[in-house]
């Protein structure tokens, strides 16, 4: 780093987050006199107990085979991984340890394979403009987390955020499809997301009923042209969505912003880290304060406040918004929020599997802050002098700490973006070190990863059943790790064996940009259904005999069914100008026998899985013969599986 000091200063460093956190830019910033903890960097070398880095990454390659990540034909992975897709806007399912991508679930953006955004059913979920076209066709999904029961995943749902348009999508884990999307009101830059794990009040509700959402960007309220030039009036909110109805239950108006989110195992607390307590508009403003915060929400009190009518609404939104500003929550006994300070622009807040701590990563500070949840609750009871007293450790772990995972054996694994490392550290020892025991060697191991890791997660890490087997590291840069494919590089998801004392790098897995967060859990926890149920689709064409063209003036309904290797109608006739709705039911019952339906020149293609029904609407505006055909290989006579759409002039 010292040689970087000699580089000419960047008068205006590239403000993009990725470049900003690049080591060179980081040093440049430091040189520009913006203190971002470089001094701490030196301290770290002295104070942080050094642990030998893991051996060079080339060495463990031989172990990859012995560790069995490369599965034999027919062998199945032992873990599911649910991955966000980033600005591909999708949700992905990986098998681990093989790292094979098994499935993609389209949600926020159209998908040409499945016809997501083409079929009427998917459009209804995605949301349309009055003319029937899609409201949004871009998305940026960062975080996905699944529903809980008794502190472990129950295989019902997963949720994923869209940062661009502030949408939350729910994925049904029985069919691995998106079934609802809700757009959050009053916010922008919806980033962190986390379901609750049980109800704070009713002990019978030991499962997920809420999903918490943090929004990064502050905006005028309502954001309708008023106060656009007065950033002091920009505000951010913390949102709670109902897990079943997907309606927004309530929002909390806060000071500063939200980033990531966490929920406690007892259901009482949710939290978001805040990197912009300053409510700055440019990044130097956002970095001005030495300490930012981790903001805690007292769920029971917020819901009581809503029940008591102590809320406002903004603009067209009917969602109750409670006041979670510092000013309004000074008395701990009535406070809806607690503000625990955390050094400079923290990133990531993660709940330890023992249910005791939330850990905030320093990002611009080389520290991790361990917050004792029981003490936060004490503060809410009025028994703790200051929320900051809940900090039981704030120890240096390395440069650019971002996210933390757990092994269930008391160790935390934090990604060090700038150091391109994962640091394994012991939480209880860190607490001892903080308490003054200088002999406490809390750093257990360090592992070089390739390169610049962002999110990290371990198998079952976010549950009480953390099993400390595998650690996946989402490296934001892959550089030289794969065959070159031009300027756009894949992300490098690295797999680390954490079952021993030392972390062992096992495998590199390329992923299409750019996943952020992910969760990993045992395969037994998911029981997807192999085919759909005919009755679940109100439009289903249950019998091939029900097929036909049904005309009501200009409105025409075409009912079709598919059974390999034929559609129920070898041809159907329309007239130019018809407003057509075509319904297709796949009557095949054989697992994996999916059919496609494409209409040339009409920009239609979608699939119907066994026993599924889908429909499309279009205007018959081009006369001629159009060979509709099955696009999804189904049978030896797949190529013959066609139907003639004849549009009469």
């Amino acid at each position: 780093m010292s040689q970087d000091h000699s580089k000419p200063l960047d008068a205006q460093p590239d403000p993009s987050r990725r470049k900003f956190l690049n080591t060179a830019a980081f040093a440049g910033l430091a040189g520009a006199g913006l203190s971002v903890g470089l001094s701490a960097c030196k301290q770290e070398e002295a104070a942080a107990p050094a642990a030998a880095p893991a051996p060079a990454p080339a060495a463990p390659a031989a172990q990859a085979v012995s560790n069995g990540t490369h599965l034999k034909p027919g062998e199945l992975d032992t873990y599911y991984g649910l991955w966000s897709g980033g600005h591909t806007g999708d949700f992905r399912v990986l098998g681990l340890p093989s790292g094979r991508e098994i499935h993609r679930v389209p949600c926020f953006v159209p998908d040409a394979l499945t016809g997501w955004g083409i079929t009427n059913e998917s459009k209804k979920i995605m949301g349309t403009k009055p003319d029937g076209s899609l409201r949004y066709t871009v998305g940026d999904s960062h975080h996905t987390h699944a529903s809980y029961k008794d502190g472990n995943y129950d295989g019902r749902y997963a949720w994923i955020n869209d940062k661009i348009n502030s949408r939350i999508a729910r994925i049904r884990l029985d069919y691995l499809i998106c079934d609802k999307i809700t757009e959050l009101p009053n916010v922008q830059g919806f980033h962190g997301i986390f379901p609750d794990k049980r109800d704070p009040v009713d002990p019978a509700i030991n499962y997920t009923t809420r999903v918490f959402c943090g929004s990064e960007f502050q905006i005028p309220l309502p954001n309708a042209g008023k106060d656009i030039d007065d950033p002091s009036k920009y505000r951010s909110m913390f949102t709670c969505v109902d897990a079943e109805t997907m309606d927004v239950r309530w929002q909390v108006l806060i000071d500063g912003n939200c980033d990531l989110a966490a929920s406690s195992f007892d259901g009482k607390l949710a939290a978001t880290n805040q990197y912009n307590t300053e409510s700055g508009v440019t990044y130097p403003d956002m970095m001005s304060a030495e300490r930012d915060a981790c903001l805690f929400f007292n769920i029971a009190r917020i819901e009581q406040a809503v029940k008591d009518g102590k809320f406002k609404t903004y603009g067209d939104s009917k969602v109750p918004v409670v006041d979670g500003t510092r000013e309004a929550n000074k008395d701990p006994k009535t406070a809806l929020i607690a503000v625990v300070s955390v050094p400079k622009n923290p990133h990531g807040v993660n709940a330890s599997p023992d249910g005791k701590y939330f850990i905030c990563s320093g990002k611009l500070s080389p520290t991790a802050t361990v917050i004792d949840l029981s003490k936060v609750l004490e503060w809410f009871e009025g028994n703790l002098e200051s929320p900051d007293k809940a900090i039981v450790a704030e120890v240096e772990i390395g440069l650019g700490p971002l996210h933390t995972a757990f092994d269930g054996r008391g160790n935390a694994y934090t990604t060090l973006f700038l150091d391109s490392q994962v640091v394994k550290w012991n939480v209880e020892k860190a607490i001892k070190f903080q308490a003054g025991d200088n002999t406490a060697q809390y750093v257990v191991d360090r592992l070089d990863v390739q390169y610049q890791p962002g999110h990290i997660n371990a198998s079952q890490s976010e549950t009480m059943a953390a099993d400390g087997k595998w650690l996946a590291v989402g490296c934001k840069f892959s550089k030289d790790r794969y065959l070159p494919v031009g300027p756009l590089h894949p992300e490098n998801e690295q797999l680390v064996d954490i079952s021993g004392d030392k972390m062992v790098l096992i495998a590199d897995h390329p992923v299409r940009p750019e996943p952020h967060d992910f969760i990993i859990f045992k395969r037994e926890l998911l029981n997807p259904k192999p085919i759909y149920t005919l009755e679940d689709f109100p439009l289903a064409v249950k019998d091939p005999k029900d097929s036909g063209v049904f005309r009501d003036g200009k409105k025409v309904t075409v009912k079709l069914s598919s059974q390999a290797p034929a559609f129920s109608l070898p041809e159907f006739r329309l007239k130019v100008g018809d407003e057509v709705t075509l319904i297709l039911t796949n009557l095949d019952k054989v697992e994996d026998l999916t059919h496609g339906f494409a209409i040339p020149k009409y920009n239609v293609n979608f699939i119907v899985n066994p026993q599924e029904t889908a429909s499309v609407s279009f205007k018959a505006d081009k006369p001629g013969v159009f060979w509709c055909y099955c696009t999804h290989f189904c049978h030896a006579l797949h190529l013959e599986m066609r139907s003639r759409m004849i549009v009469e002039a």
Partner: protein
């Protein structure tokens, strides 16, 4: 020499006849198109209309097990009038030949049989013994019968609501098997289409102890069972690698399920099952074959595994299977293929025994033809896992058990006969000593009685004439696949063979051949009767020279048949008609086509003039038994003078005593004539000489000792005189 020529001609005509196509055997080993077993359009390959009169249109194969719907067309409207099923689609019950009788069966919508057609059978008895029409007549008895009726072979018993069918005498096993095929096929389809109510078995109530047995315990208490198929069982060359090695078990039982799956996975699995649904797991711990195959990919049905309980069989669709991720029970073998299968039917109950069936594809090494073979292992939850233990299950007797039960009295009498003959023979010395050359009745009374009983009771009554075909079958069974059932289905033959094997090694084959073989007995009885009615002067023996040459012919016949049998059992069985047994006893001289009758009658006629011509020169069965007779335990007695004295040889009807006085035990039929002489002081020359010497010398005639001599007179010292035994 004339008679030799006759012999040759008869033989020749027999061979010609056997190899020529026989008009009678229409369906015998008929060549059926391969598609018959697999093609969806069954009725394109067989004439379904023959068994379902009135039907003109037939559906493709459907259902499980498979059947075809038959429609009549009236005024352009299709009307379902019944069902057609191919027996081998439903059951592979083997008949006497060990192969199924492939039958096409028609049933109307009311569940009444309306047509039966034999497409192919391999029953030798129907080829040469009994006309095929007998089986056709037998099958006609089903027409009009309701499939739900209790139909059995034998007497009708209205009080038990059992409808009896007339059997085909001599082909009991065939018809018992055929009845099973008819009823199994009919009910399987009737259940599917709703004519018969589906079986609903009372569901098991489990005992839950909360224990988690390990793998070894699960195997020991029968909660986990193994199914192994060796390569040779599916026609592949023998090898060290198994064809498939499967373990399976029932998962709904909580102790077993938790032990196998672990608590969480068990809970999870059970939460996905509805009432009357049952989960079982299968793993493959070894072998080269997959139990999943790829059939389920196209058709959605696993075609290699199923579960059977009673008359119901349960197959699995792709949706009835899920991944088995691992086995918790300690000590479970490593596996490389696994599944959890769900039986979705209340017809299945874990309280009762069931079978896990693997359907193998067997390739006949000789012909390359493929056929399906079932391999199964029975499973029944241990009583300890069931509330109230295992329910009582009355299993229908296997066909062979039915036969044994039905004929218990005859079987007892027959066994008594065998024992009696053996006992009599064991005491032959006592009998021969009582007999003399002039009066052989002490021996012959028993022997002739045995003949008469053997001809009348064993031969004509029980039709238990042993045959060379059984020896051939054994050779094949020992080499390829031994099934006790095959031999147990004919209890008389079974017992007879035990007797034959034991006595052959103890005394030689002569006891069977000379005393109990029905045809041999008939043959020699005719000779004796011939002599008694004054034909003695026409009776003759072959000159020694010719006899010694011709006696080898029977060995040639035997080895010829054996050799042919390795190429074609069917041809060997046809050629085995060199035995006139079927014609004589099983079918009757007057029930067969003239060449057979002529042959059998010729042999019997010849028997009047020369003793046992067939036994001596042609009988392959005798030849096959003659060889082990070399190793008999007890031979007949000889004395030193026998080397030079040929008195016995003259009287030996089987010409088994050579010029050196030695008895050839391979030829000897245990008539005991020589043994009578042996102790007859008037007939045995050495004894006669000694008798005359003693008489002249005034010495006492002491009795004949066990060594065949007069007990020598020895002066006894005076002191011991009082103690000497009085002779």
């Amino acid at each position: 020499m004339k008679f030799l020529a006759a012999f040759r001609n008869t033989l020749l005509s027999l061979v010609l006849l056997a190899t020529a196509p026989l008009a009678l055997g229409d369906a015998y080993e008929a060549k059926l198109p391969d598609e018959i077993n697999t093609a969806p359009e069954l009725c394109k390959y067989v004439s379904c209309g023959d068994v379902l009169p009135g039907a003109t249109v037939f559906s493709e194969r459907k259902g499980q097990p498979r059947y075809v719907e038959g429609y009549a067309e009236e005024n352009g409207q299709r009307k379902l009038i019944g069902y057609v099923m191919l027996s081998t689609d439903i059951t592979d019950t083997p008949a006497y030949s060990g192969k199924p009788v492939i039958t096409l069966i028609g049933m109307d919508t009311g569940g009444r049989f309306v047509g039966v057609k034999i497409l192919k059978h391999s029953e030798p008895i129907l080829l040469l013994g009994i006309p095929e029409s007998a089986l056709i007549r037998f099958n006609q008895q089903y027409i009009g019968q309701f499939v739900g009726n209790n139909i059995e072979i034998g007497q009708s018993r209205p009080e038990e609501s059992i409808i009896g069918l007339d059997a085909i005498s001599g082909a009991t096993v065939t018809v018992i098997a055929q009845n099973q095929v008819m009823m199994t096929s009919g009910t399987a389809v009737a259940r599917q289409v709703g004519i018969l109510k589906p079986t609903i078995r009372e569901q098991a109530k489990f005992v839950e102890t909360g224990t988690k047995p390990d793998w070894a315990t699960l195997v020991k208490d029968g909660s986990v069972k193994r199914l192994v198929v060796k390569p040779e069982q599916v026609g592949l060359p023998r090898g060290d690698t198994l064809f498939i090695d499967l373990w399976f078990g029932y998962l709904n039982q909580p102790d077993v399920g938790r032990a196998i799956l672990g608590d969480a996975a068990y809970r999870n699995l059970m939460s996905r099952l509805h009432e009357g649904e049952h989960a079982l797991f299968v793993i493959r711990s070894g072998g080269v074959e997959s139990f999943k195959g790829s059939g389920f990919v196209r058709g959605g049905i696993y075609d290699r595994v199923q579960v059977r309980q009673g008359g119901d069989s349960f197959t699995f669709r792709d949706l009835d299977s899920s991944n088995l991720y691992g086995i918790e029970a300690a000590g479970a073998p490593a596996f490389n293929e696994s599944a959890i299968f769900i039986v979705r039917s209340k017809a299945f109950s874990a309280a009762y025994p069931w079978k896990f069936v693997f359907l193998g594809n067997r390739v006949d090494r000789a012909t390359g033809a493929r056929s399906f073979t079932n391999f199964d292992t029975e499973y029944w939850l241990s009583a300890a896992y069931l509330q109230g233990g295992r329910p009582k299950v009355v299993k229908p007797d296997a066909p062979w058990v039915k036969v044994w039960k039905a004929r218990a009295v005859e079987i007892g009498l027959f066994a008594a006969l065998l024992v009696a003959v053996a006992v009599v023979y064991a005491f032959r010395d006592a009998l021969t000593r009582r007999a003399t050359r002039k009066n052989k009745w002490p021996v012959n009374a028993f022997k002739y009685s045995a003949w008469v009983v053997s001809i009348g009771f064993v031969g004509f009554g029980l039709m238990a004439q042993p045959s060379i075909t059984q020896v051939l079958t054994w050779f094949h069974a020992m080499l390829f696949h031994w099934t006790w059932e095959l031999f147990l289905t004919d209890p008389f033959i079974f017992l007879f063979w035990i007797f034959i094997i034991v006595t052959t090694f103890v005394w030689g084959r002569g006891l069977f051949c000379g005393w109990l073989c029905p045809f041999g007995s008939l043959s020699e009885l005719l000779y004796k009767v011939g002599a008694a009615v004054g034909l003695k002067r026409f009776q003759f023996q072959l000159p020694r020279k010719w006899h010694d040459r011709l006696k080898w012919v029977k060995y040639g016949v035997f080895f010829g048949l054996l050799a042919v049998s390795f190429f074609s059992m069917g041809l060997a069985e046809k050629l085995a008609e060199v035995e006139p047994f079927k014609t004589t006893f099983l079918v009757g001289l007057f029930n067969r086509s003239w060449p057979y009758t002529l042959f059998a009658a010729g042999l019997l006629g010849l028997s009047i003039f020369t003793e046992r011509p067939f036994c001596k020169y042609l009988c392959p069965l005798g030849a096959s038994l003659a060889m082990p007779s070399t190793f008999r335990w007890f031979g007949l007695k000889r004395k030193q003078e026998c080397n030079s004295c040929k008195a016995c040889a003259v009287v030996c009807g089987s010409q088994a005593i050579d010029e050196n006085g030695r008895i050839d035990h391979r030829e000897c039929l245990h008539c005991l004539d020589c043994m009578v002489l042996y102790a007859d002081s008037h007939a045995c020359p050495p004894l006669s000489q000694e008798r005359k010497r003693r008489t002249k010398a005034g010495l006492p005639l002491t009795p004949i000792g066990a060594n065949g001599y007069f007990i020598p007179i020895k002066p006894v010292p005076a002191r011991a005189e009082a103690l000497a035994p009085k002779n």
